[in-house]
């Protein structure tokens, strides 16, 4: 069953206009609250090529969530531009999202808020299938893909655990036949033993469908498991970029070094993580 799904999905990806993927060009985002302007992003440059799995890592308040929102048009960009397959991302207004941009889908952090509590799983997956330009995998195939029993289709979100809901959210995103999947801290609310599994699942489904993924997380040790390339973000700026193992083993930026040193290694030796100034 998973095989047919991937075939369907691969067929979808062949329809993709082989283009430039996602490009963030000197993007600045400012928020104004009560007359005070705060800058969340200071002119960041990023790209995600078609089919690539990219990580964006940083601590709370560094602007990584704002980046995800800017990519989906959920916050207005103050300066610079976000482009996807040549189409400029404008803030989401009264109208529907343009077709090209509908191919960017997102998996959110809070599994308890990301599904409509009043609708059955099937209805929510069907809605997402409706916009699939290629042959949308069936609801059954989608549930197989995220390793949930097919009977789940007739249940409501409240009947699932956090990890299961996140799988459903992944299935919904994949139902649309996305060419870019954004994961905005998709594993942060899950139990530790599920985090790696869900992250690997996201990588598996995007790989099989030929889609690209931008995986945003604060947890570098999980990100390292799945991404080819990563960006490290600190205080609204990209401070380091590179191949995953290169950054992991030879971090150049001072902040990246500090971040890496702080990760406790579960080796049973009782070694405290290093605090670098």
């Amino acid at each position: 069953m998973v095989d047919t799904t991937s075939q369907n999905a691969t067929a979808t990806s062949q329809n993709t206009r082989k283009g430039e993927g996602l490009i963030l060009n000197n993007v600045t985002v400012q928020y104004r609250t009560a007359g005070v302007t705060s800058t969340a992003l200071h002119g960041i440059n990023m790209s995600v090529h078609p089919g690539e799995v990219v990580g964006l890592v940083g601590e709370s308040g560094c602007g990584k969530s704002t980046t995800a929102k800017a990519i989906c048009g959920l916050v207005p960009v103050t300066d610079g531009e976000v482009r996807y397959e040549g189409v400029a991302v404008d803030p989401l207004g009264f109208r529907k999202r343009p077709k090209t941009l509908q191919r960017i889908q997102m998996v959110f952090q809070n599994p308890y808020a990301s599904l409509n509590p009043r609708r059955k799983i099937k209805a929510q997956l069907e809605d997402a299938r409706a916009i699939n330009e290629g042959t949308a995998p069936s609801v059954d195939e989608l549930l197989d893909l995220v390793e949930l029993p097919r009977e789940s289709a007739n249940l409501y979100p409240r009947q699932f655990s956090g990890g299961q809901r996140q799988r459903i959210a992944i299935a919904r995103a994949m139902a649309t036949g996305p060419s870019l999947l954004i994961g905005d801290e998709p594993i942060a609310s899950l139990d530790a033993s599920l985090q790696s599994k869900v992250a690997m699942l996201m990588k598996k489904v995007t790989r099989e469908s030929g889609a690209a993924m931008l995986f945003i997380s604060h947890d570098l040790s999980v990100v390292r498991l799945i991404v080819d390339r990563l960006y490290v973000m600190h205080e609204g700026r990209i401070v380091e970029e590179g191949e995953t193992e290169e950054v992991w083993n030879h971090p150049k930026n001072r902040y990246t070094q500090r971040l890496l040193a702080s990760i406790p290694i579960p080796d049973g030796s009782g070694t405290l993580p290093t605090v670098l100034e």
Binding site: D191, S193, D219, V222, R224, I263, P264, P266, G268, G270
Partner: protein, 289 residues
């Protein structure tokens, strides 16, 4: 009964012989014995015959996923469970069963001999009261200090947890500090009455990883300096591996495995513990994921 060095030096241990002993820290470290702790709430069996020996002066870790009963077990030590919960078993501390104590006597132990640090420092500090107000009220109530002495002690405590400019910090309010600084302040408050046992319930889960590293160092330092017995509750095996001496793994209200840090993490026996260890990113990496 295993004794740590400090306990041996002073010739005291956590046994009943010292039941009437003073609570001062230098008398030695005290542990806890949780025996057959069982809890039922509204027909749900939340804890099932939990037995745990908390070694004096050591860090005992309670690991497990959400809903496993690890927080419940640690909070039971202070009788912090719902009124209508049916609890059986014993929690022995200095020869007394804490579960038998009256509300009045347990209040004398809560926050004084056995202190707590919670996950979210913003929730455990009152947003409208200055740090000084929150720290000194607590100490004047429990220790009967004069206002001046209490302030002096608060400054000393803040310096101990490495808050820069302790005098200035006392005048500030919680929103003026970062999450990591607030957790330091919460730890300082927990240490105010020289507790013998500190229960830290997910003390670093709400914090960034760089801040987490600092807090772990602070907890280690306090344990070494004061011979503190620490009960560390966390789902993060990385944190566990950095700090805990012994680890108890909980699942669905039961302790499925207990052992030394090294044994649990490098050579788990129980299938559930194994699955937790296998799910660590580091180990998934090794298996060539």
């Amino acid at each position: 009964m295993v004794m740590n060095n400090k306990a041996m030096n002073t010739g005291s241990n956590a046994g009943p012989a010292l039941a009437d002993g003073s609570s001062s820290v230098e008398a030695g470290a005290y542990g806890l014995d949780i025996e057959n702790l069982d809890m039922t709430l509204n027909g749900k069996h939340l804890l099932n015959k939990v037995c745990l020996h908390v070694e004096p002066g050591k860090v005992t870790g309670l690991a497990g996923e959400s809903g496993s009963g690890k927080s419940l077990t640690s909070l039971s030590v202070l009788k912090l469970f719902p009124d209508d919960a049916k609890v059986t078993g014993r929690i022995m501390y200095k020869g007394r069963n804490l579960l038998d104590l009256s509300e009045h006597s347990i209040n004398g132990i809560r926050g004084r001999e056995i202190a707590l640090v919670f996950q979210d420092p913003t929730a455990s500090l009152h947003p409208m009261i200055s740090i000084q107000g929150q720290m000194t009220d607590h100490m004047r109530h429990h220790l009967g200090l004069s206002k001046k002495d209490a302030i002096a002690k608060a400054e000393h405590l803040l310096a101990m947890v490495h808050i820069p400019d302790p005098v200035g910090a006392l005048k500030k309010y919680p929103h003026q500090f970062s999450g990591g600084q607030l957790q330091r302040i919460a730890i300082a408050m927990a240490m105010a009455c020289d507790p013998t046992i500190l229960i830290a319930d997910e003390p670093t889960t709400a914090l960034d990883v760089t801040v987490q590293a600092e807090i772990l160092h602070l907890l280690r330092e306090l344990c070494d300096k004061f011979g503190l017995t620490l009960i560390l509750v966390t789902h993060d095996l990385g944190v566990m591996s950095a700090l805990a001496d012994n680890i108890a793994v909980m699942k669905a209200g039961e302790i499925v495995e207990y052992g030394t840090r090294h044994d649990i993490i490098t050579d788990p026996k129980n299938p559930y513990t194994k699955s937790l260890i296998d799910a660590l990113p580091m180990n998934m990496m090794k298996r060539g994921a």
